[in-house]
Amino acid sequence: MSLGSRISVLILLAAGLAASCEAKQVAVIVDKTNSMSGMSAADLAKVFKFDSHKWPDGRPIILILRDPSTPEMKTAIEKLYHMQAEQFKALLAAHSSGVIIVHSETELLKSVEAIPGAVGLVDVYSINSRVNVLKVDGKLPLEQGYFLQGN
């Protein structure tokens, strides 16, 4: 038995071999100087579709994104952009001055931490205390009904 199964036998047994699909929850992160604590899903979509260019304090919004093939970006494309991967790439190409593409989770976290006005999307289990996590529609990741969850 594992330690977990010793403590809660049926839970782990129930998970068994079948539980290979782990739900992904995507956190919206901003730099620590950003005074926003949350926004609606509709406003978030505007930010990520380049329809909003500035934060309420006037600073320019800089998107920090990863490759569309990563699980968190797949969730974002499905929930925020409602478009195919090719359309998404074309959108990014048309707004290249407002977006930075990074190649790892670590790079994304460091970029959001370091760039004032930055906003990024990251698997919730990767967040650290050097960035702020925004609520979406009043909910944080892993709360019931959180907007940016996928599989």
Binding site: M1, S2, L3, G4, S5, R6, I7, S8, V9, L10, I11, L12, L13, A14, A15, G16, L17, A18, A19, S20, C21, E22, A23, A27, V124, Y125, S126, I127, N128, S129, V133, L140, P141, L142, E143, Q144, N151
Partner: protein, 521 residues
Amino acid sequence: MRSIKVSILAALVFSFGTFGVFGPRAFAHDTPTGMHISTKSPQAHAFFEKAMAKMEMLHTADGLENFRKAVQADPQFALGHIFLTFFSQDPTEQVAEREKALATRASAGPEEKLIIDWLANASQAKWVPAIQAMNEALTSYPNDKHLHWLAGWWLQLDQNQSQRAVAMFERVMQIDPKFADAYNEAAYCYARQGDLDKAFADIKRYTELVPNEPNPQDSFAEISRMAGRFDDALTHYRMSLKIDPTFHESQLGLGDTYALMGDQQKARAEYAKAIATGSPVQKVTWSLQLAASYVREGDLAGADKAFTAVVEQAHAKDFANLEAEAYRSMSLYQLESAASLNLLAKAEAVLHEDHKVPQSLLNQELASVLRTRVERALVANNQAANNQAVNNSADNAAKNNELAKATLKQLQTLAEANDADGIITSALHGAAGAVALSVGDFADAVNHFEADESNAISMRSLITAYDKNGQQGNARRLAAKLAALNVPLIEQAVVVPEFRKQRAALAAKTNPALDPRGKYR
């Protein structure tokens, strides 16, 4: 008596029984690969060391007892309090110890403070600050094996994140290649991901590291059973019992394995031995598994009799959650929906009475009862729709629809009030998926069922939802998984054997060469 091999230093401390001669720096947790502990009490430090050594060997009751002694020796020992919060199975103790950990946090060291922030927030379902503190600790103390082990454990059991958990256990192996439980936990993670080669490699290493402990053999047996290697499972369970005849989990494992192999008489004989040696709560819990063996062989009258006996035992001991579970288990295999709904009503009534059982356990069982009611109401609806000859079938269908919707709402309210509870959340997804499937919202059904993919009933429905949603590849893959699902649960008993029969019949129909009856045609 089971041997403790990992923390020799802690054992030495106890064999001498002279805490005073060891200063805090003498303990294993203050090594470069250990966790700094700030208690000023050598006794508390020694008890903490022993507790960790016990937990590493999965002697959880002994481990908990030593954590309790540690905080008795030093009530200001914040890390001891938070470890009790984390490892205790008693919700009352969890809350009380969390409050003590927070009250004494100021006296803790920097790493301890991060661990307290992580686990105290997690125990209150404040996930974002919990994860932030955990990651901060992991980044700041990359060579602390116990920290990574704890993180792996939390990610695996509390968060169902086996991919992330396995990375933690592999880091533990890098730091200390002889940290036995890291191999055990990683093996379970790999098994859950379906990577059986890696699972068996790690579990083999685990048996080599602690050859005189029963648990490595028990784990080897359980993973063998999960993989469908039943004979190997029986062999390793027997090896475990040979090492320690009092390791009752292996005795239960023999019963479970025979049950999954289809030999219900042998299963019941092995279950009976386990039940005879179990604690009062184990006796009732394991009797549920014995009763399920009648369901597996299609003897529903025998199952009713056995589950009714469990109801009486649980009622006599005031194990209300288990009494309700027995009613719910009976409801799952009833052919008539009215009988099933009647049993679920009894289960709910039991849970609403006044009991000594922790409310969290009652709530979890209530969630399972409610999700089953949603499913059975929708089945009743289908039965009514298929039986047009019955008077008032349209009225009955409307009533059942209303019942399903009202029950789903009740379950949503329960889930909102118990945000941290994974069992309740999974039950909600299972029920919501069933409702979405019934109204033809297949994409929504897929999303919900995927969040409850460990439940055999949801797996079966998810295959349908995938198929209707145009995801035939996913449907095929999941069907193969469901057919290979070997877990000793009532849901598996009511779903998987029948699913295998249907699958075999379908295969024979589409490929007559596979039909054993073909040679007679």
